[in-house]
Symmetry: C2
Subunit: 363 residues, 2 copies
């Protein structure tokens, strides 16, 4: 299991994981998978990986596990494999830490940013994370130097849950200087990765890792980012998943805020200045919809659900904010309705927002 | 002449200024004007006012003067008098300084902000004004403490033209501590007011004055603003006039940037970080349209003009940015086309953007 590969995900989805593993081992594969699986075909490290995890007190969480945050992965599932190699739902997650992944990510904000943070950025991270944690929010981040590390530390400082998503195996410390921080997170929060134990961090894995950070949270907040910061990639994932992307402004004289300003200016992220505003944008999702009743386009929907569905164009996508403005509902309500309509198969998300599904279920 | 009064403006517009003056003196007035003119009916200070101005080396610029910036006032003219008491075109402007008001305001940015500016705000004002001035832009502001004063000073420092718009007579210094600054501006730039010599600054005059600041510029930039700053009022006028409203972000820990952040967050102003971005938003207007050919809705318009006109809704208004996105033109092009369509009587502006006029001229 070596990170996201859309073709492999498709195979597993169609034939099941056991049959897919056999097909890889015995080389009965479509051409698209012959290359990607060739180098590791002979290797079956499953037993050894699980042993390493047991020694670490960790576990492998798969999609059939009750702890699997299926809800969180909804947006990823819908990305077309052919179009977006890195967009697949993780095949599984390697997890260290005492908490349930499902419960910890129920109310979560991703707080990310520049490795080269300033005193200002670290101060603001501490303040906002402290306030978010006090209101019961889990902080998801990437355990990097700078803002990431500060976000985890600020959560640990107030005894709040925090999830570190790594681009290497959870048995490794990356960066090495954060070994102690990661050990602390694993004691009270969660250290997770889609890469098996022993995997070394590679550049493309950081980009893929960012989608897991964005997926596990209700919204992504960038505290500081230079113009070339990887935080912009996490923001891109948040937007693609239909979740709010937020950025903190700073002095225009500081290079460490230039990426935040650009994202705000270009409409990629919304300007926020404090925890209240983050929560206003990111949730909580107020799910007031009856789940026993099936949805149906048009007539079957009633009240706000019907309005929200009607506000989606026949062609193309819209952002929740635009929908809220059109139908005159507040943003949290619209944000609560859309995922319910998604569960009912009526709507989906793409990089431009929410859209009607091509073939909604008839009942 | 005592500042904006929409009913009086209407009277002057329909019967001419000489007849309107006679009507006021002889009390032959509609009921709406009996009150507003009663207290000053007996006073005819015209000769004395002009004498004061001559002594100051100033002048009275009226709408029939070649120096009158008629183009700049277009948005104001269209505000309905009944609806917006303060929205009328100034009846005239009292002017001190060696420059032509028309030419000085041809490429102009309003730079305004908090009276309680920070070192950061003053530094950024100096940098941006210096860069704008170097590219030939006039700086318009209100000569107040803080950002306003810094904006004028930064323009003077590089020998660039600057216009101070006062809420009192141009023979007075407000604030008194800026007497020397105002004298310097009057030497190389312009000090102007719609209030006659001797008028003392009153609170409501500041709000009315802000519309003149916004009207004389291609866009309004707020460098720093607290939550209760008057700069927000100038931004409101800029938006109502269909001109870009821009704000500089700052540390979220600084109260002096809180107003800027709120305006950006609520979509009232666009985040900018440097002079280049200000110029990108505010102009220059590239007027490439043939002025000899009359415009006509629908068939008569061609090319980009037809597209821009078509992108305006039948009912309601749109912002230039949305129009640009719809028709696939860049923003400066759309910003150049709209005023030309306005001159042709086909479109107009209101607080929500640009709209089609109800009765476009047939030829």
């Amino acid at each position: 299991m070596q990170g996201p590969c859309a073709a492999l995900s498709s195979l597993i989805e169609s034939v099941g994981v056991v049959e897919a593993a056999r097909a890889v081992r015995e080389c009965e594969l479509p051409e698209s998978l012959l290359g990607p699986t060739a180098r590791r075909r002979e290797i079956d490290s499953a037993a050894r990986d699980l042993e390493v995890m047991e020694r670490l007190g960790g576990r492998l969480v798969t999609p059939d596990d009750p702890e699997w945050p299926a809800w969180r992965m909804l947006g990823l599932r819908q990305l077309e494999p052919g179009r977006d190699r890195d967009g697949a739902v993780p095949l599984a997650l390697w997890v260290r830490g005492p908490r349930s992944l499902l419960e910890s990510s129920e109310r979560a904000i991703a707080v990310v940013g520049s490795r080269c943070s300033s005193g200002y950025g670290e101060h603001v991270t501490g303040e906002i994370v402290g306030d978010l944690a006090a209101q019961g929010w889990t902080i998801v981040s990437g355990a990097a130097f700078g803002i990431d590390g500060m976000a985890h530390r600020a959560a640990l400082a107030v005894g709040a849950p925090t999830i570190a998503v790594l681009a290497c195996g959870v048995d490794r410390a990356y960066p090495a200087q954060h070994e102690r921080l990661l050990a602390e997170i694993a004691e009270t929060g969660l250290v997770i990765s889609e890469y098996p134990p022993g995997t070394v961090a590679h550049k493309n894995q950081f980009l893929a890792r960012n989608r897991v950070i964005a997926a596990l949270a209700d919204g992504t907040l960038v505290v500081e980012a230079g113009l070339r910061s990887g935080a912009r990639n996490t923001v891109k994932w948040a937007r693609r998943l239909g979740r709010p992307a937020l950025a903190i402004p700073g002095p225009v004289t500081a290079a460490s805020s230039a990426g935040c300003h650009r994202m705000i200016r270009e409409g990629e992220a919304l300007l926020v200045t404090r925890a209240d505003e983050v929560i206003d944008e990111a949730g909580p999702l107020r799910l007031s919809l009856p789940t026993t009743q099936p949805f149906d386009p048009g007539d079957r929907l009633q009240g706000n659900e019907a309005s929200v569905y009607a506000a989606l164009p026949e062609i193309g996508s819209r952002q929740p904010r635009a929908i809220a403005e059109t139908v005159g509902l507040d943003l949290p309500t619209v944000r609560a309705i859309l995922p319910a309509l998604e569960l009912a198969g009526l709507v989906g998300t793409d990089e431009n927002g929410w859209h009607r599904t091509a073939n909604p279920p008839s009942r």
